[in-house]
């Protein structure tokens, strides 16, 4: 049997829902290739379980494992970077599997993003200057904003079986100084401002004016006071690093 054909058969043995008799016959050593199938699947399944513990608990092991099996059979890992396997699984499953209720889908999205933020590359690419309204803001390069219909970043309270609807804006990022991954909940205005600053196309002041106009907010004393508090919090937590040169 040609090498490429035998490797195709072995890959199917590893990832298909049930390995075919034809493939097992073709490669021989049936029991040992089934052992490989178990080892390959167990390792990949384990990293998904470790990375998404609350999704696993909420969905239950049977349902979670069925999603993993579906992903193996229909897509399989396309990344050579083991830590990125989780994002591929979550992305595929959210797109293809009927995950109900919606909060469970959002929980998977949140946990997968948290894992990804913890590991993904991203470091300041230029000198960071003190915050200045006349300069382009320097936003943490690992930041991702997430808009959800449920506050899934908070664990379910004891006795609570599901999340009520609660529009939620989350900022996930990795702190530069200690590499800790942080989740911060923002109000809609705060989320809009951070999203605009993240574009890094205009000065901090220009972005504030544009967002306020778009949301029909008056730049009065109360707004400016809230803005000062927001900036202080963002800088303190390491979401906003300062200004770009």
């Amino acid at each position: 049997m040609k090498l490429e054909l035998s490797q195709d058969a072995i890959q199917r043995i590893c990832f298909s829902r049930e390995p075919s008799e034809e493939d097992l016959d073709a490669v021989g050593n049936r029991a040992r290739w089934l052992l490989y199938r178990n080892m390959v699947r167990a390792r990949l399944r384990r990293v998904c379980r470790v990375a998404l513990p609350r999704t696993l608990e909420a969905a239950g092991e049977v349902r979670f494992d069925a999603w993993v099996d579906e992903w193996f059979a229909e897509r399989a890992p396309r990344t050579r970077y083991f830590w990125r396997v989780v994002a591929e699984f979550a992305e595929y499953t959210r797109a293809k599997a009927a995950i109900e209720p919606l909060w469970l889908q959002e929980l998977m999205r949140y946990e997968a993003l948290h894992w990804h933020t913890r590991h993904d590359e991203g470091a300041p690419d230029a000198e960071i200057l003190p915050i200045d309204f006349e300069r382009v803001p320097f936003v943490n390069p690992t930041l991702t904003l997430l808009e959800l219909a449920h506050a899934v970043h908070r664990p379910l309270a004891e006795g609570q079986a599901s999340y009520p609807e609660e529009p939620t804006h989350l900022a996930l990022f990795r702190r530069i100084e200690d590499d800790d991954t942080v989740t911060w909940s923002l109000n809609p205005m705060g989320a809009a401002l951070v999203a605009r600053w993240q574009l890094e196309q205009e000065t901090l002041e220009q972005a504030v004016v544009a967002v306020a106009e778009a949301r029909n907010a008056s730049l009065n004393a109360s707004f400016l006071e809230s803005l000062a508090g927001l900036l202080e919090g963002l800088l303190e937590r390491g979401l906003l690093l300062g200004s770009r040169p």
């Binding site: 990949l44 396309r78 993904d120 590359e121 470091a123």
Partner: protein
Amino acid sequence: MKEHPGGIGIGFRMDLAEELFERAPDAVQWLELHPENYIRRGGRYRSRLAKARERWPLVTHGLTMSFGCPRPHEREYMDELRDFVREVGTPWHSDHACFGGAHGAFVHDLLPVPFTDEAVSTMVARVREAQDQLDVDVAVENVSYYAAQAEDPLLEIDFLVEVLERADARLMLDVNNVYVNSKNFGFDPKRWIDKVPTERVVQMHVAGHFVRQDGLRIDTHGEAICDDVYELLDYTLRRVGPVPVLLERDNNIPPLDVVLAEVEQLRAIYDAATRGVTESAADRATEGA
């Protein structure tokens, strides 16, 4: 610039990194790391890598180059790998005599290839590509396997030697893998070692393995090294000479003191077996096999 690796090294594990930095034990002379754990990655992996570079010589050992794959290496990965091995200053880069997936998928395991002429040609082509695309010597590691790849298991070493000779490549000799395969397929591991072209060996691996109830041995890197493997290492070092030896521990990682005790045991074997022999792996890597 750090010296070439020599003596006993350990795999650079996040679980042990902080304590390793704090104690910086002299017994650990160099570190091995998997580029796939660092390329495109940030956070603690990157910051700890930078710290490790300041203290130890580093050697890279890949997991996904898949020398047994009939398709050419993914160019994007090879470019990133080339940059990475330059960055860490490794004297050679090794990966496995296996295949790890096809058609863009990755099994994230080291699956064996049959010991056939077609597989030799495939592997020679992949190793040569790697040599062309990286700036360092390329070493091929023998893998442990559980499905027979030939009627005579000793054909594995003939297969490997042909790959090494035709590709003019180095050997990353995994002593534990030789032992595991010898027990699983019933051959004398010393006969296997006797056929190794010693001048091509740049590094060795030793590790612990798991013995199932049915007797099958699985290369887990999650147990203590067994006495037979220590003995085979001694035999191998006496034949090959003082090439750097890595203790692989990737699962069930014990406290650092337990790892260091194994390192000390390896060191004693290494010193006794290589006393009086001065040629190093670095000499081989720079002078040619």
